[in-house]
């Protein structure tokens, strides 16, 4: 019995592994709930853009000694404003504008990191640093996650109606402008939370994959949310263990497990999987 449990229990004897697991699970829950809205809204590209665009904000906040959530928030929402302005005043299509703006912001972040002398470690921001989380990071991530989760829970109805049809939502009295920016603000904040676990480059996977996996498994929003949470949490736990056993990148392992989950579900899902659809055309 001990032989079976040892590979599971032994890593947990180390404090950094306990922390990694705890914070990884918390971030996975928030990202999973948000990912359901992102999937239904069709905002994968927008999530990618915002999560990359927060980089200069994080670097500046670090340099000035401010909470990095603040910098991320300003640049995340700022990037959305810039995308909207360019789209409104030029004939360039939205996906092109998004690609253009987020790479521009990201590049600015890289320049700032290389010029500003600070304790910021580029690889930690880009690829996460789940095994080396400080107390301050822990508190900040927990607070951000709690706030995001609370907003998503309290505004579930309004956000769902907004994802369903913004025009309809507006006619029944919802302030769709506020909801639009609120959802993007949540993406920015979640990107900061996810920055600790998987880093800026891969955080979009946390914001897209669990929702997409759950969407193939259920036609009910509540069930979809629970399945997304289950998928994200299990991928995080498995990923952290895998990274320990194989001495591989933690962020990479988590996202690879998530992607494998999606592929498995894509083939085997009871109603919407490829096999089920082949059986009943």
């Amino acid at each position: 019995m001990d032989l079976l449990l040892a590979p599971l229990l032994q890593p947990m004897e180390m404090v950094f592994m306990q922390r990694a697991l705890a914070i990884g699970v918390v971030v996975a829950v928030v990202c999973a709930v948000l990912s359901c809205f992102m999937t239904l809204k069709g905002w994968a590209l927008m999530g990618d853009a915002v999560s990359h665009a927060v980089l200069p904000g994080v670097v500046i906040a670090y340099a000035l000694g401010l909470p990095f959530a603040l910098g991320a928030f300003v640049f995340g929402v700022g990037s959305v404003g810039v995308i909207g302005t360019i789209k409104q005043h030029t004939r360039v299509k939205e996906d092109t504008v998004i690609g253009l703006v987020f790479t521009g912001f990201f590049a600015l972040g890289l320049v700032l990191i290389s010029k500003i002398r600070s304790s910021v470690d580029l690889t930690h921001i880009l690829f996460g640093n789940l095994l080396g989380i400080t107390d301050a990071d822990l508190v900040q991530t927990l607070v951000i996650s709690a706030v995001c989760l609370l907003v998503l829970l309290l505004l579930r109805r309004d956000l769902l109606l907004f994802c369903f049809d913004p025009t309809h939502a507006r006619t029944i009295g919802l302030n769709t402008g506020v909801l639009h920016y609120l959802l993007l603000t949540l993406v920015s904040l979640t990107a900061v939370a996810g920055l600790q676990t998987v880093g800026i480059i891969l955080v979009v996977a946390m914001l897209v994959t669990p929702g997409a996996t759950a969407y193939l498994l259920s036609d009910r929003f509540d069930r979809m949310t629970w399945l997304a949470v289950l998928s994200a949490v299990s991928a995080t736990v498995l990923g952290i263990y895998a990274s320990y056993w194989f001495d591989a990148s933690t962020a990479g392992c988590i996202v690879v497990v998530q992607t494998l989950q999606f592929l498995l579900v894509m083939v085997l899902a009871p109603r919407h999987g490829l096999l089920a659809r082949r059986r009943s055309p």
């Binding site: 025009t167 309809h168 036609d219």
Partner: protein, 258 residues
């Protein structure tokens, strides 16, 4: 004089600098059923969208129950929940994981933060009753993206009727429905309007239906060309002025089958 539910004065909407709706004024008395008619491109949907605050307007005072629509297109909080809108089609893409019951329930809930599990008193009964009154009870567990056109329109009526409202705006709500579905929808709308005391503004191309069920007609072609009772506004001469001299009102009567 009857209370005015909606008042529009001097509405002007530009598209690419060109007025598509100009100097349009009208008022909807309480519990009236008003049709907005006119040829394609006359600006009917634009009037509706501007009145609902979905399109920016360049000029015009729009009031719901005496409360003004802000320049940004928002109603004051006190009247916000009094409007319901049935568009030509909703942007339902793919399989949206929302059941008929969830959707109608959202029509009951006020906007703003609330715990997902805190059902207000009477919420469940209000949903059941709304589904019953719109003949949708059997559809309650179905996904909205699985419904036929006629079923979807009835579910939207259930969304409207689940809580008291004053103004219902329909933009060619019967577009895409076959004759029996359209007839069923119209009858349901008529019954609910009487029971609920709704004031209705509907864009329609079906002049026969307008003649039968509406009590005020607004003839629009960028500007308001005429208005009044159906008999007055839909006379052959008026229609020729509105649609052009070649217009022949289409009337369709079935002989009984042998």
């Amino acid at each position: 004089m009857a209370e005015l539910v909606l008042q529009v004065r001097g509405l002007r909407v530009l598209r690419d600098g060109v007025p598509v709706v100009d100097d349009v004024s009208f008022a909807l008395p309480a519990e009236s059923d008003t049709a907005l008619v006119g040829p394609n491109g006359a600006g009917k949907s634009t009037v509706v969208a501007a009145v609902l605050g979905l399109l920016p307007r360049q000029a015009g005072d729009v009031r719901l129950l005496g409360q003004p629509l802000s320049p940004q297109g928002r109603w004051p909080r006190s009247v916000r929940t009094q409007v319901a809108y049935l568009p030509q089609s909703l942007a339902v893409e793919g399989r949206f994981p929302l059941t008929v019951r969830d959707f109608v329930g959202f029509g009951f809930d006020p906007a703003g933060p609330r715990w997902p599990w805190s059902g207000a008193a009477g919420r469940r009964q209000a949903i059941e009753r709304a589904l019953e009154r719109t003949q949708c009870s059997a559809l309650s567990a179905r996904l909205i993206s699985e419904l036929s056109g006629g079923q979807w329109k009835r579910v939207q009526l259930a969304f409207c009727v689940v809580r008291p409202r004053r103004l219902l705006v329909l933009d060619e709500a019967q577009a895409g429905l076959d004759a029996p579905s359209s007839e069923r929808f119209q009858q349901l709308l008529l019954d609910l309007r009487r029971q609920e005391g709704w004031t209705v503004l509907q864009v329609s191309h079906d002049l026969e239906m307008v003649r039968r069920s509406c009590d005020q007609v607004l003839c629009l072609n960028r500007q308001l060309r005429c208005s009044g009772s159906p008999d007055h506004a839909l006379s052959a001469q008026r229609l020729a002025e509105l649609y052009g001299p070649g217009y022949v009102p289409y009337q369709h009567h079935h002989a009984p089958l042998p």
